[in-house]
Symmetry: C2
Subunit: 140 residues, 2 copies
Amino acid sequence: MTEVCTVNYIDHVGVAVKDIEASLAFFKKVFDVPDAQIELLEDQGVRATLIEVGQTRLELLEPTGPESGVGRFIERRGEGLHHLAFNVTDISGKLQTLRTLGVDLIDQTPREGLSGAIAFVHPRSVFGILTELVESNPKS
Amino acid sequence: MTEVCTVNYIDHVGVAVKDIEASLAFFKKVFDVPDAQIELLEDQGVRATLIEVGQTRLELLEPTGPESGVGRFIERRGEGLHHLAFNVTDISGKLQTLRTLGVDLIDQTPREGLSGAIAFVHPRSVFGILTELVESNPKS
């Protein structure tokens, strides 16, 4: 077990939006980002897309309903920056390290996300940042 | 003049914190990021530091007082994700392009930031994201 949760790079920045088609179209038109596929993640209550921007990605998240986590976020705070994801190696070991260091986890074990195994860390442990760890699936 | 505001990569993600020394120490201890220098930016009302994480950076911002922009942000929303910065080439041309595209700018012309020329775009034009453009200083 490592004694620190070394992060490789910023995997993506998550953004809560009300209309994922409109926001994806805006980023393509205004900021010249590549097209990206929108996927339904029913268990997370969102439609989501990952837009490549250099080494990292922008993840747009549209809630499937007002009761989902992202729906409540928009209700409370409006659209905008939602979470920050770090790419890591050995996500299970990293979660164990974070527990040892006294960091509060939302997900005690990894679950399947848009591009690999993911787990969320509680914002109260990271200066208000809803923090996600991502272990990417091997590229095929 | 280009017709799109092409972005090169995510330059940094800005985070509002109450105690920059404590938060920098936490990121070093827990996430194994390199050390970074804290600088006072009096005109922006913050002490700030840029932590290298892969291609992009985390920018920690501690307000110098409650009346600064970041101070009011923390008062209203608490600590957490504050802004998203894209690296661009020819920032002045890009601002002109954004105006042409009907995007609301906070800064009509670039000003000096921590690592180059910067300008902020109004969050109401970018789905609630306080968006910054950065044109890096040439590396010496």
